[in-house]
Point group: D2
């Protein structure tokens, strides 16, 4: 994971789904590089931009006034061409022509897989920065964008709670997380959800019905159930339909929070995390690291082989599952 040829010119790109804090990470990569007298080039549109040569020279003022913006000024895209040998060869030609000898790739699993293959094929140094709202990356306690997405989901559920309470309704609320229940579990605890359905836990309709029955007995007349997008028991609409069959009197509604969870001004925690990881990516490259991802664990900057970051799982905290049940009392 180290390669001691000196880095002189860094390319930075964002790829995959956008996440709040990506701009703070770009800013940190650019300014840390310039501080250390390296050149930096912004690559627009993820790996497609690398293939098509959409490059912009970055100076310290190119990243002024972006730390507080959601989205990514470098734009993002999924690239099917980069999955081909030919696509990556084109990308490498551009790197050579530009003199780019290292890449900082901000994104998630897919982004890192692409980076790794590219590095192995063409010897360009790569370092990953975990930017995704899903928090499903091994090697860092939190990914960039996750904390902001939690707050966005929570604030939306808080608002829906007002209506649920006023009308004595049951709401099934779907939050993002195709493979991971982090957003659902944490936003569910934070909003006092009566039940939280996530892919990491085996759920059954019968258990859910029991939860509703207990709540009725305790005099709770409105309830929120938070469901992760990737829940395997049933789709959120089916969950609501089956519940209606079992409790025909209940007034049941569904809300899919959707894309609001990806945007917005990043939280303070996300801006600081992104600033640390962008800094860590550049200083890691300067130390000769490659094929690793920069992360923060236990408040320390650490580097994890990209292979591990991709193949291993970020585990859901078991005590949180227990707490979510106890507190829904």
């Amino acid at each position: 994971m180290t390669n001691n040829s000196r880095v002189k010119k860094i390319g930075v790109l964002t790829s995959g789904g956008d996440a709040p804090g990506m701009n703070a990470a770009i800013r940190s990569v650019v300014r840390t590089a310039i501080y250390h007298d390296l050149e930096v080039v912004g690559i627009r549109g993820g790996y497609n931009g690398l293939i098509e040569g959409h490059f912009t020279k970055m100076g310290p003022r190119s990243v002024s006034n972006i730390i507080n913006l959601g989205g990514t000024i470098l734009k993002s895209a999924r690239s099917s061409e980069f999955r081909t040998k030919e696509g990556r060869a084109k990308a490498f030609e551009h790197c050579q022509a530009q003199g780019i000898d290292a890449l900082v790739c901000i994104g998630g699993d897919g982004t890192f897989t692409g980076a790794q293959i590219f590095s192995e094929e063409h010897g360009v140094k790569v370092i990953g920065v975990p930017g995704t709202i899903d928090n499903d990356i091994f090697g860092t306690d939190n990914t960039i964008g996750y904390d902001t997405a939690l707050n966005t989901a929570m604030e939306a559920i808080d608002k829906i709670r007002d209506t649920a309470t006023s009308h004595s309704r049951i709401f099934f609320i779907e939050v993002m997380g195709r493979d991971a229940g982090f957003i659902a579990l944490n936003s569910g605890i934070a909003t006092g959800a009566i039940d939280i359905l996530i892919p990491e836990h085996n759920d059954s309709m019968e258990e859910l019905f029991t939860t509703f029955r207990k709540a009725q007995k305790r005099g709770k007349n409105s309830s929120i159930v938070v469901v992760a997008e990737g829940e395997t028991l049933a789709s959120t609409y089916e969950l609501a339909k089956k519940t209606k069959v079992e409790f025909p009197e209940a007034d049941i509604r569904v809300t899919i929070l959707g894309h609001i969870q990806r945007g917005g001004a990043p939280s303070c925690a996300d801006r600081v995390l992104a600033s640390r990881l962008g800094f860590g990516a550049v200083t890691g490259l300067m130390k000769g690291l490659t094929n690793v991802m920069a992360g923060i664990r236990s408040n320390q900057l650490v580097y994890t082989p990209i292979e591990d970051a991709i193949s291993k799982n970020n585990e859901i905290n078991q005590d949180l599952l227990q707490i979510s049940e106890i507190l829904a009392l």
Copy 2:
């Protein structure tokens, strides 16, 4: 619309969909009444509560710390029983037993219709307070909850814009408004939507496609279209589907904002409006008014016959339609 028997005891209820600021209105009704040495009773669960006698005596402290809360502490519901003569007769018995000689009914069209019939049948004085996020009530510039809903919708669309821009996508975003395009038109202007589809305006797919083509030519590579729930051209999903057929290269997404628009802490404008209308309702009853709705027009407290409030329409501002087209340039 006047009835000079002196009011001594007022009942207050919220009915229909909840709206941010209803609590501020309840607080204002209660405190204004007490200030004028009237008794006030809270009726829980809208007209159902009137039928079933769910009454609570209200004092000045019953409404402490609620001005900033969404939803309604008196809860709301739609009541099919109140649509029957028998239902209303039961409700009147409870009013008599309690000595309630006037009702303040906070809600929308349906709420006011019920109030009017009840008043005509049983001689109880009624006054309406317009509380609905849709702003579709004649007789007031704004309804309680509308301004907050606008801000909520706008903030959600602002967030989605981050992703739309980062990924060069087209987003169709559906906002509330079953019969009225106020939320769509204003939140669409405020977020720079490329097109806004509302029931008050005849739209065609061809015009929409022309708008997209113009935008492409001008180099706009992401777009937001805001659609009112009540748009008659097609459902939001169908609009997206048809657009995809016309522009197969485009990356098109749909978000239905849903119930988040009903909740949340009321805006300053909504709290002040609710405070003024609650005050106006009680002082109106004291002056002998009945079967009217309190409203604010041109910053002045005015009373409109409930009949007009129900039958007439709050018109969409024509210059806003024009502005929305010019500014989407």
Copy 3:
């Protein structure tokens, strides 16, 4: 107030204290002008920019993605040089050189005074757009930025209320408004302030003490007093000090909200207002209007002579004063 020479090239500037929504107004001026085939030039730094010739040609994309930003992309400043005949002469030379035949001046009283003199001296058409958080301009129901400032002040006071309640404290909170009590009165009503001190109303320490005594009797053990910056009875710190002398047991704190009230993403109402006024300014100039200010009264676009806008007062609503007392019960 009309001058029928056709306008061809418009200059737009922001001057005086910045207000959220100024960018939305700039965007609207630029796009409305371009839509009508007029040229538009942005003048940076208010009247200083006019004197020094800091001009930028504006196209439709110059104002992309700014509708949601606080502050002003054209920057603002107070200009002492523009108060001199020589300064204005220099400014006029630049206008002539550039072919600018009309100015849209976004700001407050001071901005309008400058515009009027300039127009009279040099025959350049001018139209004012009221942009100030203070709402102290005659000729428009609301100024741009006022609604946002109200929400910012209210949200800050809501937060302080948490501490006031938890610790049974009295807080004196100073909000902006050097000459006008609009922010204080409305944010005070919206947060349930026990008293609201504004320059438009004669207050006395004795009345304030009476209010506290009544509150104590009613069992209120925490209180918020909202004070306008321009209150004449005493400074906010002195008010607190005198209250402490009268109630030595009370735990009294002062918070000056300060500059947070000027910034932040504009509210939906402010963005729509700014869009309408920017549109109205350009179409007004096209109709030959000059030396007027565009405003919205009773939801209609209206033009007021700048002279009146400057010399007349926007009156505080008397019923709001009464409501503020009743509801603090």
Copy 4:
């Protein structure tokens, strides 16, 4: 730190400065205790309430709808009487009379010191829960309320940045933190502050001036300096005054953010943290722990002797200091 007599009845109190998330912690203590068939009593007004016997029996519904509220429903106060042996003896009498055999004390250093002495003198089990916005407690990565305060400070500074940029001003912004620079350092990094002054770091006016000079050279014409309340170099007003003497042309302003930082709806991270710590406090007491504080380190629940929590320091992250300098480029 263990005492194996079985706990049957727990008292819970909040003491010291309030912090967002204290209510979430109370809710978690109450529901976890009830889940485990323990009785719980709420003590109102901190240690004063213990001395005066202000007790309320808590059930699961006593803590409904509070997870999202700032402040503390149990109220808080500093108690000079509890610092006396007599005061604590009175408190113990009430505990005995009530059958309270364990206390959960939510607060900061002062709260824990009181708990420890009380426990040593009277044998009542105590466990601390770190609730303070300052994050200055050893034994937990974050204290309850810190993350919310960071976001509040950051959002306020973001707003002030709008004005700073529009007017080319320098703003000195004071944030809370009497002994610790955590809020200043993190909110300063998150808002791109040009300099951050904290008590943990030796600063000099000369260094600050150098920073301003460099910024001027780089063409930065507006700057934010974030100052911790406990900065030792000079008061925030003095810093501004001295800077004005050195840079007489500069337009310099001061804002003291003040009490807004203590309030507001807790962030998702704070609600989850508070839920975990409340759970940890009760389960810790059940395992026989006493005189410890529950904390989360590296995402795991840990217990630290109260003695260490009080006497040791939570260290500022050194790499953050370095990053703050590099990124202000």
